[in-house]
Symmetry: C2
Subunit: 350 residues, 2 copies
DNA sequence: CTGTTAGCGCGTTCAA
DNA sequence: TTGAACGCGCTAACAG
């Protein structure tokens, strides 16, 4: 076992002394912007720093220059592939700017979300990115907006992912158009009788996808029977339960179930299979998001691709761009329908 | 669009002035330990803080008290369900202690890993948790150990996940025993002829699982033919490629393919299917980890469960426990074989 | 180009 | 109990 003397970390002061220069010179050689310092000194300072295992104290730097170098990211659940893909993009984008990401999990609770924003604000992050937030009532939403506004008022940037409703910059996905195109494609594949699984009422994302899908079908004179629309949590289990409910209500004639997210679609496929209606032979299934596992489930899932990592990267770019300084801007990322085995062509006689 | 006056954040000083008390009193009412302050004052300070949207500057607090309240987590790839599940546990465990998690991604490069440890050390985190690290040579490993040791020497805690090789505390999974039990179970199900897909050579995790599996089979007098063992990256695509290689080499007689991780197993199933050997009818597949999607692929994947979230939580507990202060300790978490549809019972006559 | 000095926001002694 | 003063590690004026 190695010794653990518990010494204090070396400070810049230690380095300066070790190198026989002033504190300022040490600071300039190690971090200061341009080469305003004699190469000789620079050399000696760096050697001293290495000898002492010096590592600059980021907190102290942040205090001294009044600006930290972190990005705070809030997600509902990092184990969900939707969020973890976005997080990967955020981390990559932040690192490109030399920023560190701190992450917190809201567990889909707006109370927790508010609490976390309060805490994270203490970090004085350059940016706070919110994704997957929900509002269980105008009151909690107001409190969140107030907290976020206090943050922007002091120079912080806020970026929302997939939400236009709040007065901040946002990276949004064109859910409506994507779902509409999906409906069109499925119609062309021969599908005529549909069921749908949505998220909880009041979730914009779910609503947009549902109405886009409905409108896409309407273009061809098709409507989804209200009994064939169920709702559930925006999770695998939510999709599972919703599909069970559909089976109970009876969907014998239905050819295809559209779930508003891939994780729900995956859950739905499992429930349908257990209920004796395996995809793709007995029923077709389509989702939305194109999470990585969509291509590995069986049958591979037809869905609408969102470039999730790109969404995350765009969020930090948007936050740091100069235009975002003066006004709220919205970046929209496009979607793409991906047809896979879960929605085979419908045979003519079917 | 709301106004963005860009004022500076309220400081403790502002709050004190607003409340008409001293800085010290304000500090004590807002953060100080026990109730050493008049309730009257406390009240006024809190009101003033609320009025000014005060949020304590965590960096300043960290500098003043010489200890930050963050946990730094390094993962290979946060979009990988294995790591994101562990991360969820780390975040939960950290939050239980009032700590914030900062996360960085190594992209499976030991050079990047070293670089990131250097950077994160600047945060003066209470803990650095490393998971999925790899060593492309003793040189890079030495450098990492040196950096980590410098960190522990100054009071920081280091916890490795799933690695015993370095002189630090660790949360490890009993990969060997789990794989061995899996082999036993599969034998009892009637399987006799196996192939295996491993990770890159030199990865302890992969090696342990492979040898545990081999030893479990050896108990029944079975060996895997060397040609029936391939290796690939520890990713979905690595598993896909490895399975393709197996198909090329010829595995007509093989009844079951064991992949050392679920993500590889999932990739392998896709490759096998494309190669005309769909699981479970034409060939069986088993994995390791029990990531959430294991139960949703078709056929559902037989695997060895690791309580991934618990692993993450244990890592921060271990780091913060008192025993970890004085010596390196290792916590082992158990595994459990989960039989699912990807490995049906072998019919007697097969 | 270098060194001295004054803060940054906060915790924590020390007297009062 | 409260307040004044100092120090945490560092950056950014300001002189030299």
């Amino acid at each position: 076992m190695p010794e653990r003397p518990k010494t204090a970390p070396a400070t810049l002061h230690d380095v300066a002394r070790e190198a026989g220069v002033s504190l300022a010179t040490a600071s300039r050689s190690l971090n200061g912007s341009a080469r305003k310092v004699n190469d000789d000194y620079r050399q000696r300072v760096h050697e001293a720093a290495a000898r002492l295992d010096y590592s600059p104290n980021l907190s102290a730097q942040a205090v001294a220059k009044g600006a930290s170098s972190t990005v705070a990211l809030l997600v509902s659940n990092i184990a969900d592939p939707y969020f973890s893909s976005i997080a990967a993009g955020v981390i990559r984008g932040a690192e490109a700017q030399g920023l560190i990401v701190t992450m917190a999990v809201t567990e889909r609770s707006s109370a927790r979300e508010l609490q976390l924003v309060r805490t994270l604000r203490g970090q004085r992050p350059r940016v706070i990115i919110l994704t997957g937030s929900r509002f269980e009532g105008p009151r909690s939403q107001d409190a969140l907006v107030a907290e976020l506004t206090a943050f922007t008022n002091t120079g912080g940037r806020v970026v929302l992912i997939s939400q236009r409703e709040l007065p901040f910059s946002a990276v949004v996905v064109d859910n409506y158009a994507g779902a509409r195109r999906l409906a069109n494609v499925l119609f062309e594949q021969g599908y005529r009788r549909f069921a749908a699984i949505g998220g909880d009422r009041g979730l914009m994302t779910s609503g947009d996808r549902l109405s886009g899908f409905a409108d896409g079908l309407a273009e061809h004179g098709i409507a989804i029977h209200p009994d064939h629309i169920t709702r559930g949590e925006f999770t695998r289990d939510g999709g599972f339960a919703a599909a069970q409910e559909l089976l109970t209500k009876g969907i014998e004639a239905v050819q295809l179930v559209f779930a508003v997210s891939d994780v729900m679609a995956v859950g739905a496929m499992s429930a349908l299979r257990e209920g004796g209606r395996s995809a793709p032979d007995s029923i077709a299934v389509a989702g939305f998001d194109d999470i990585p596992m969509a291509r590995d489930v069986t049958p591979a899932l037809t869905t609408v691709n969102i470039p999730l990592e790109e969404v995350g990267m765009r969020a930090v770019e948007l936050a740091l761009s100069s235009t975002a300084t003066t006004s709220d801007s919205v970046v929209t990322v496009g979607t793409r329908v991906i047809v896979r085995a879960s929605t085979p062509l419908v045979r003519a006689g079917d």
